[in-house]
């Protein structure tokens, strides 16, 4: 029986395993050094906030693995020996595979800041990070202030987490406006304001220069680019993530930022695949980035690699981009592409609900009026409908006038669609 080894028990690896099991009888082993069982990384914040216990983040009950004949191993893989089809563990033991899937995920970015390895300086990616955070920042007596570096999705989650324990937070963001590298200005400004409303000390256009140590090698303060010294007990490094690939160094598997894969998700060894956060596309698809560290991409790659392994070669060719997040109380969804500044020949239409929470921004092509993408804030939209509109290459006019068909808000919610339409019509007539 063919033996499939999967390194990494995150969404990518586990989806691959599930689909391989659905389509075949192959022997499947999943290896991870992080946890015994698959858990949802995106839910780490809810454990710290007391919404859930850690076991609630596990999407499958423990019987699931045995019942589906998926073997689990908790071990760290030190090395890969592609010529012998073997992997080597920390203790020197080996395991042989017929096909290998690398789904090793990410680690937090560090940019060589002085003091970045001090105690009390950490990212928020793994379960171990969560446990460490419980030690460093259990409450506001132990942790009198936290400084978060980097205005991305994990940074705002960390801010919300600390906020629930009433720990004062200073949040350093490089751009003017939160997540401005991705969000158009009106969106970014609204989120910035919302973060500040939660008494987060948000510092825009500010960066980390150096982390200062106390006598025990623990962080004491940070110094910012503008030269301010901010005393703190925790530094949250949230300036993005990068693929976790150090253990591949001498394996001969090609990598750049991530593990290089072709459109079939194969590495330079035909029986080794890479999926999820750790993979880098040799030929990125459409407007997508070469490395996409998002949940959905990991899942979809898992689905595709399973087909390839089960003798049904398919290319990685994902559909329209979509994503979602939550900034404190503001839910965000996006379908298609909305760039932080409209692409050449495009423009943005923005509707503002003026309640500090709800907004939509649509990107469209000026000449053809083709709809390119939408950002929505606190208005839930139906994925299926936008997927259809994008396939049909609808115009912005069609989208705005039929927005109600895409409504996914709970029943009885106040509907903003009429207001959106009238603002849009006013723009057209002016």
């Amino acid at each position: 029986m063919e033996h499939i080894i999967i390194i990494g028990n995150g969404i990518a690896g586990v989806t691959a395993a599930r689909h391989i099991r659905k389509n075949s009888n192959k022997r499947i082993t999943i290896i991870s050094a992080e946890t015994d069982y698959f858990f949802s990384r995106t839910a780490l914040m809810y454990v710290y906030m007391g919404h859930m216990k850690f076991e609630h983040t596990q999407p499958y009950e423990n019987w699931f693995w045995k019942e589906n004949r998926i073997e689990l191993m908790n071990a760290y893989v030190n090395k890969i020996l592609p010529d012998e089809n073997k992997i080597e563990f920390e203790d020197g033991s080996h395991l042989t595979y017929d096909k290998l899937i690398l789904a090793t995920g990410s680690i937090p970015n560090k940019f060589g800041w002085p003091g970045q390895d001090l105690k009390g300086v950490q990212g928020l990616v793994s379960k171990q990070d969560l446990l460490q955070l419980e030690q460093t920042a259990p409450n506001n007596k132990v942790c009198k202030r936290a400084v978060i570096i980097g205005g991305g999705l994990i940074g705002v989650e960390l801010a919300e987490m600390l906020h629930t324990r009433e720990i004062p937070v200073t949040f350093l963001v490089r751009e003017k406006g939160f997540w401005r590298g991705v969000l158009p200005m009106p969106n970014a400004t609204m989120i910035s304001n919302h973060i500040k409303e939660h008494h987060i000390d948000l510092r825009e256009e500010e960066e980390l220069k150096e982390v200062l140590s106390d006598d025990n090698g623990h962080v004491r303060a940070v110094i910012t680019k503008k030269g301010e010294e901010i005393p703190c007990n925790l530094v949250g490094l949230c300036a993005g993530v990068r693929p976790q690939i150090e253990f591949l160094k001498e394996s001969g598997i090609e990598y750049n930022r991530g593990i290089m894969v072709n459109r079939n998700l194969q590495t330079n060894f035909s029986n080794i695949y890479a999926i999820g956060d750790c993979a880098e596309q040799r030929e990125p698809v459409g407007e997508r980035k070469a490395v996409e560290a998002v949940w959905y991409t990991g899942r979809m790659m898992g689905e595709v690699v399973a087909q390839n392994i089960c003798g049904n070669p398919v290319k990685w060719n994902p559909g329209h981009w979509f994503n979602s997040a939550k900034f404190f109380e503001i839910e965000y969804q996006t379908y298609g592409w909305v760039w932080n500044n409209p692409k050449e020949g495009n423009d943005h239409f923005t509707w503002n609900g003026n309640d500090g929470r709800s907004m939509i921004t649509i990107e469209y092509e000026i000449a053809s009026r083709k709809f390119i993408g939408i950002n929505t804030f606190n208005i839930r939209m139906r994925h299926e409908v936008f997927d259809k509109w994008l396939n049909e290459e609808q115009t912005i006019d069609h989208v705005v006038y039929n927005l109600r068909d895409a409504c996914f808000n709970p029943e009885f919610f106040k509907e903003p669609y009429h207001d959106i339409k009238s603002q849009f019509s006013n723009l057209l007539t002016n």
Partner: protein, 526 residues
């Protein structure tokens, strides 16, 4: 990779203490409860009406004060911070203590009302029940009973915790409307109207208009039917209303809106679970095993309810001279009705039943029919070897008192707020069957947006593993879903929407989710 080796426990001490306002609120509420407590020990209060008013206002006021202090400095949004750190809501010491206290209260209420001061044989009430006499006289001109006391406390709980829930979910209109609805139905339909009607028609049995058989298992008991009929057209109307409720209104509304129209908008048990029980919803068991137990248990109770009611009605119908329907016709009618019902389900919905459901359905029908047959041929009052009234009183004891009261509410802090609704309620079983098979209601999942975080499953009071469906892009069509809408509210990615829609495509298992390669999706759909 040294961090992997480090073995640390989650030792955080997040702020979970009460703020000053919450402490004041608790003190006020406990003081109000304390007055009731003292009255149990027969401390006589000089002016009962005054002390009762003080006590009840303090209980309600304390709860509302507590809620206000908890939410006033927060922004509208999900409020589950610290739920799993607090002793009361995470099966800690406080949780267990309150469970013991609640169970104790129910046992005394159901079985030892004399300790609460219920006067028997015409003696005046004393103690706690005596304290409620003034209110009872005001409403219906009769002394209070243990059920009156319970009714008042129950209504106060739904109203004050309802107000708390309204503050907690002030950003969500579905939750708000639903809560106004349960508060209204409890206050008007379960409490004021029946009590006042009883006052106007001295001997009219208590009739909660929204309580449908089989939840209201004594509806067809002889004393109740006679009591209703003795009250002329009012009583007859009520009896007919009871029959129309279960055979006409319920099926229509459940078809259009799912069982939620009843379970989380109207029902009193549901009302208490959604308000006072809200703090405990996360404690329901989500395991596959619990689901299995649930399916067998709740349907067994339903069968028990059907047999018990059939037996009871049969036992007093006689030859038809008294009630226009004879016992024989009645039995044949029930047997034919049940057989037709099952045949109908079998013919139209067989594919949608799980294997054990088919097995169970046939098994249950055989049991019921054999009971009826035995009954029929023996022509005595014996059901099997029990007497009908024994079956009925066992039902009343086991299901009506122990299950719905002691376990159902007493176990809130241990097994979550819907133990009764999920494992025991025969009404929920009927509505659930219909919801699964003949209803427009479903919870739609939003394409590929789920991140498997688990908030929905954690906060589903019915113990449905919502995430298991959502992460597969499959709609949730489950018999037990009461449509409380909380899964949709807590989802941080806007994945879930409760809605009524066409029957076609309602159940939609998917292999690959939206957002994937279009060709691959087509390939797998083949």
């Amino acid at each position: 990779m040294s961090t992997y080796q480090r073995n640390m426990a989650l030792t955080g001490e997040p702020p979970k203490a009460l703020n000053t306002g919450q402490k004041v609120g608790s003190a006020i509420g406990l003081f109000g409860l304390g007055i009731l407590g003292l009255s149990i020990f027969n401390i006589t209060f000089p002016n009962k009406a005054l002390w009762l008013t003080i006590s009840l206002s303090m209980i309600a006021g304390g709860i509302i004060w507590f809620a206000r202090s908890q939410y006033k400095n927060t922004q509208p949004g999900i409020k589950n911070n610290g739920v799993w750190f607090k002793s009361i809501s995470s099966r800690g010491l406080l949780g267990w203590l309150s469970a013991v206290g609640l169970c104790g209260f129910y046992i005394v209420l159901y079985f030892y009302p004399q300790y609460l001061g219920q006067g028997s044989d015409g003696a005046a009430n004393t103690g706690l029940i005596g304290l409620f006499d003034p209110l009872s006289y005001l409403l219906k001109g009769q002394p209070a009973s243990q059920w009156f006391v319970y009714g008042v406390l129950y209504t106060i709980a739904i109203i004050s915790f309802g107000i708390k829930f309204l503050m907690k979910y002030r950003h969500n209109r579905y939750e708000r409307l639903r809560t106004y609805s349960v508060m209204f139905f409890q206050t008007a339909f379960a409490f004021l109207i029946p009590e006042i009607m009883a006052g106007l028609n001295g001997d009219l049995p208590y009739y909660d208009l929204k309580n449908v058989w089989p939840l209201n298992y004594y509806l067809f008991d002889q004393w109740n039917v006679n009591g209703l009929l003795a009250n002329g057209s009012v009583g007859l109307t009520l009896l007919l209303w009871g029959i129309v409720s279960i055979f006409v209104i319920t099926p229509i509304l459940t078809y259009k809106y799912g069982k939620r129209w009843y379970c989380s908008w109207v029902c009193g048990c549901g009302g208490l679970a959604e308000t006072a029980g809200d703090a405990f919803r996360q404690l329901s068991d989500k395991s596959r095993k619990a689901w299995k137990v649930e399916r067998w248990l709740v349907h067994t109770v339903l069968v028990f309810a059907v047999i018990s009611t059939t037996g009871v009605i049969h036992s007093y119908l006689g030859d038809g001279s008294k009630y226009w329907l004879s016992a024989t016709t009645f039995l044949i009618g029930v047997a034919v009705f049940l057989t037709l019902l099952l045949a109908f389900i079998w013919i139209f919905k067989r594919e949608e039943l799980k294997k054990d459901a088919k097995f169970g359905a046939v098994g249950f029908l055989v049991i019921i029919l054999s009971f009826i047959a035995m009954h029929f041929f023996s022509q005595t009052d014996a059901l099997f070897f029990f007497k009908s009234h024994e079956v009925r009183s066992t039902y009343g004891f086991l299901i009506g008192s122990i299950f719905s009261g002691v376990v159902g509410t007493g176990f809130y802090p241990i097994m979550g707020s819907r133990v009764w609704c999920r494992f025991g309620c025969p009404m929920a079983a009927i509505l659930g069957l219909q919801q699964r098979l003949f209803s427009k209601f479903r919870i739609t999942t939003n394409g590929g947006q789920c991140i498997s975080c688990g908030n929905c499953s954690t906060y589903c009071e019915m113990g449905i593993d919502v995430r298991a469906y959502a992460q597969k892009g499959e709609n949730i069509v489950r018999a037990s879903c009461v449509g409380c809408g909380v899964c949709s509210a807590v989802c941080p990615r806007g994945v879930l929407k409760l809605e009524n829609g066409p029957l076609e495509g309602r159940i939609n298992p998917q292999d690959v989710l939206l957002g994937q390669d279009v060709d691959l999706m087509d390939l797998l759909k083949k």
